[in-house]
């Protein structure tokens, strides 16, 4: 039986529940959980002032209900267990989490999965800006785990990402993978401008029907259909994100950059016949593959 947290707060002031994780709650009584210290603006209040608490968390499963778009830091720092959010959630969902699973059956606001180190987040609606991003000033952002978004995401997703996977079913905003160190970001819809600016390594797949503009510091590399693309896409599909199935057998155009930085990253588009140079890579015959 899960712990059910029904939000009944009516306030425009941010409510912050940082630290209310399955790991913390699993051995607490309802009364203890009701006393959990949360912030309402700059005021400390017990959780019960904003939430009705029922059930128990011994199975490390939390279920949030209500319009939580003004409730922030849900599942931040969690290490294990499950959180289900029925409805929309605020900022910093699953921030710095190291394990476990968060499913949002609605929209999320900015900083979802920011500096995530492990675990799984699936947003069934839209996510805001800075999905899986590094906080301001950090030398590295997301270092592990998976973030899936069925809908759209905003700007600067995967900022300074180091490892892990971010996949967005819908559209994304500007500068996907800004300052990326490594890791993988896939966007299946359209996206804005200046993607991969400053990226050192890593992979950004911008696989929507309309190719976004590319910075001049990316260089065309090859048109190819490497097996890894098919493997990666199947993996994403297995984890629960739907996309245009024709991608599984599509050709892709690879670009290398950002050449103002280390330049070992890649941006991948669906192959476009009108691409100026087409270099067909020589595939290793299957017979010699290990």
């Amino acid at each position: 039986m899960a712990l059910k947290l029904t939000y009944h707060g009516e306030t425009t002031v941010p409510v912050e529940i940082e630290g209310l994780t399955p790991d913390w709650a699993c051995d607490k009584s309802v009364a203890e959980i009701e006393r959990f210290e949360t912030f309402h603006g700059n005021r400390k209040i017990p959780l019960a002032e904003m939430f009705r608490v029922t059930g128990d968390a011994s199975d490390k499963r939390l279920e949030f209900e209500g319009n939580l778009s003004g409730v922030h830091w849900i599942g931040a720092h969690m290490a294990s267990g499950q959180i289900h959010i029925q409805g929309s959630a605020g900022r910093h969902v699953g921030s710095e989490m190291t394990g476990g699973e968060i499913r949002v059956h609605g929209d999320c606001r900015g900083w979802t999965g920011a500096e995530m180190h492990g675990g799984f987040i699936h947003v069934h609606g839209n996510a805001g800006h800075l999905l899986g991003a590094a906080y301001r000033g950090s030398v590295r952002g997301m270092t592990g785990g998976t973030i899936l978004v069925d809908g759209n995401a905003g700007n600067e997703i995967g900022l300074t990402m180091r490892r892990g996977l971010i996949a967005v079913g819908g559209n994304a905003g500007d500068v996907v993978g800004f300052n990326m160190i490594a890791g993988t970001i896939l966007v299946f819809g359209d996206s804005g401008i200046r993607h991969g600016a400053g990226m050192r390594r890593g992979t950004i797949g911008l696989l929507g029907p309309n190719r976004p503009p590319l910075l001049p510091t990316f260089k065309f590399d090859a048109t190819d259909r490497p097996p890894i693309m098919s493997l990666l896409l199947r993996e994403v599909r297995t984890k629960g994100l739907m996309f245009d199935e024709s991608l599984l057998t599509a050709d892709f155009d690879f670009y290398r950059g950002d050449l103002v930085s280390v330049g070992r990253g890649e941006i991948i588009f669906r192959h476009d016949e009108s691409t100026a140079t087409v270099i067909q890579r020589q595939h290793v015959p299957e017979s010699v593959q290990a």
Partner: protein, 557 residues
């Protein structure tokens, strides 16, 4: 105010020749007083210090805790504070943030909590003195002051170019008064100006400063002379040219030689004692023995170390080219500022790693300086906070100095090349508590010319730190049993008991006011502020006290 007696403590007061003797300390009106001759006089309050170690409050003579550079470093590195220890608000104290550059309030509380009651910011461009004073007002408990940067100031360079030593002296005298500073500091004299004009790092102290045709040597000797002629409490504070560059020890030696016959303080000397070739890191080595030999033989010089400690910190300097150099070496974010006619500034986050041969040698070179300077009165404890590490590392450094097996343990985990390129493994010297009291309070107070700091003689400020003796020296110095500032208990077993603003300590040298029209003309020609708005007036200050001590020839031994 009634008498306050600290009874029966084991007192270390090197300036008054007390080395671990059981004494009573009497306090009245915030000052140390003589024991009442009339034995029937009872103190209003008594603190039983039996079995505890009693020292004067600590004095940090070189740190960076105020002004725009510190503020930029705070803003530039939110990541350093986000996951750091939090300084939580209490009914008595304000909240703050830590990281390598703590907020103003946290800085005051942490210094006091560690038993330090006085600290000096070592690099304030005169133009921003007002900002530094505002931040001092928000830096609680400790007494403080600052040195102003003059080594790349255009007016200074112009006077040297025109051979006007008197005008230079009067200008510097006016400037100390106008900014409410304690001392004059030169940072990479001439080198910052050369770099600001698009040049590279300078090769030595006889380089030519563009447009002015003067050399670092001229700047050094002239400012050193002016500081002496103005009878400033503290001699000229010198950050030599070529900081951090392998092979820079020769520049440092040249600087020492150039200063012969004049009093000078060479700051964070660890960063200036490197042998080797600038183009080949594998040649990096310690040149402390050669420098220390010269230093020991020349009592006109004093120094503080600028010890490097392993971990995350921030390089913060008035040496603009150094900031650029570090940014190039480490590829991390970098801030540079140009304070119009006066100074430069560079800020770069830096991580000192014990696996790095260069960093490990820097650590060893710092310790060599403490151990190779024969007269502890001439070497002061510093990490050049936050450049080599935080001031909060002082207890750890004390433990390293007092216990050579502890040094040996650290050496064991450092790259083997360290042993071959320095003499630290051969140094068996261990500091005594009395010597620690010298390098952390009595010595720096004397070097700064603070007559009422760093000792417990009659008339001294009643700044007293009481420690619980322990074989674990780091623990002992990290958590004093009790800290007394101006006769009041401010910290009790790590907890702040009394919040205060602390005093500003500054100097007011006399100068010839006939110099003013020329300075005013200079301001009207070139400055972005009006001459009349430039000086910091008395009513802008919180509680302050003029320092007049330290005059005359060097007091050594």
């Amino acid at each position: 105010m009634s008498l306050f007696k600290i009874a029966g403590g084991i007192v270390y007061d090197p300036r008054n020749g007390v080395d671990g003797a059981v004494r009573d300390i009497w306090i009245e009106d915030g000052r140390i007083v003589a024991a009442p001759a009339d034995l029937s006089v009872r103190p209003g309050r008594t603190l039983d210090a039996t079995g505890l170690v009693v020292m004067p409050g600590g004095v940090d003579m070189h740190c960076h805790i105020a002004g725009p550079k510190v503020n930029v470093a705070r803003k530039m590195m939110p990541e350093a504070r986000r996951n750091a220890e939090k300084v939580v608000r209490t009914p008595l104290t304000r909240s703050g943030t830590m990281g390598s550059v703590p907020s103003t309030f946290a800085t005051g509380y942490k210094y006091a909590g560690m038993g330090y009651t006085t600290a000096f910011d070592a690099a304030i461009p005169p133009l921003v003195a007002r900002h530094a004073h505002e931040e001092f007002f928000d830096t609680p408990i400790i007494d403080k002051g600052f040195f102003i940067l003059v080594g790349n100031n255009h007016y200074v360079l112009k006077q040297l170019q025109e051979s006007e030593p008197e005008r230079l002296r009067n200008y510097l005298g006016w400037l100390v008064n106008a900014t409410k500073a304690l001392a004059l500091k030169v940072v990479n004299p001439g080198g910052v100006e050369i770099w600001k004009c698009g040049g590279n790092s300078i090769n030595g102290i006889d380089a030519n400063v563009d447009h002015f045709g003067v050399s670092p040597r001229q700047i050094l000797t002239s400012v050193a002379q002016a500081a002496m002629d103005l009878k400033l409490p503290h001699r000229v504070h010198v950050h030599c040219n070529n900081l951090g560059i392998p092979g820079n020890w020769q520049t440092t030696l040249e600087t020492m030689r150039a200063l012969e016959g004049r009093r000078a303080h060479l700051t964070h000397i660890q960063f200036h004692s490197y042998g080797g070739n600038a183009d080949d890191q594998t040649t990096f080595k310690s040149e402390v023995p050669a420098l220390a030999e010269y230093f020991n033989a020349h009592p006109n010089l004093t120094t503080d170390v600028g010890q490097v400690m392993f971990g995350e910190t921030t390089s913060m300097t008035g040496d603009g080219p150094l900031g650029y150099f570090l940014h190039k070496v480490y590829g991390r974010k970098w801030f540079s500022a140009d304070t119009e006619l006066e100074a430069g500034c560079g800020i770069v986050p830096i991580t000192y790693k014990d696996k790095s041969r260069v960093h490990a040698l820097q650590w060893a070179i710092g310790l060599e300086w403490y151990l190779l300077v024969e007269d502890p009165w001439r070497v002061a404890m510093s990490t050049d906070h936050p450049n080599g590490g935080s001031f909060l590392a002082y207890p750890e450094i004390i433990a390293l100095l007092m216990d050579r097996t502890r040094r040996e343990e650290v050496l064991k985990r450092l790259p083997p090349a360290v042993r071959e390129n320095c003499v630290l493994p051969d140094l068996t010297r261990e500091y005594t508590l009395n010597e620690i009291a010298i390098i952390t309070r009595a010595g720096p107070a004397r070097m700064l010319g603070l007559d009422r700091k760093g000792h417990l003689g009659v008339g001294a400020d009643a700044d007293v730190t009481i420690y619980t003796p322990s074989a674990d020296y780091q623990k002992m110095f990290e958590l004093p049993r009790c800290v007394i500032h101006h006769g009041e208990i401010v910290v009790d077993q790590g907890e702040i008991r009394l919040n205060s603003t602390g005093k500003l300590l500054h100097a007011t040298p006399t100068y010839d006011e006939a110099c003013l029209p020329d300075i005013q003309h200079w301001f009207e020609q070139w400055y972005s502020v009006q001459f009349a708005n430039y000086p910091v007036s008395d009513d802008e200050l919180h509680e302050h006290e003029v320092q007049t001590g330290g005059n005359g020839l060097p007091q050594t031994g």
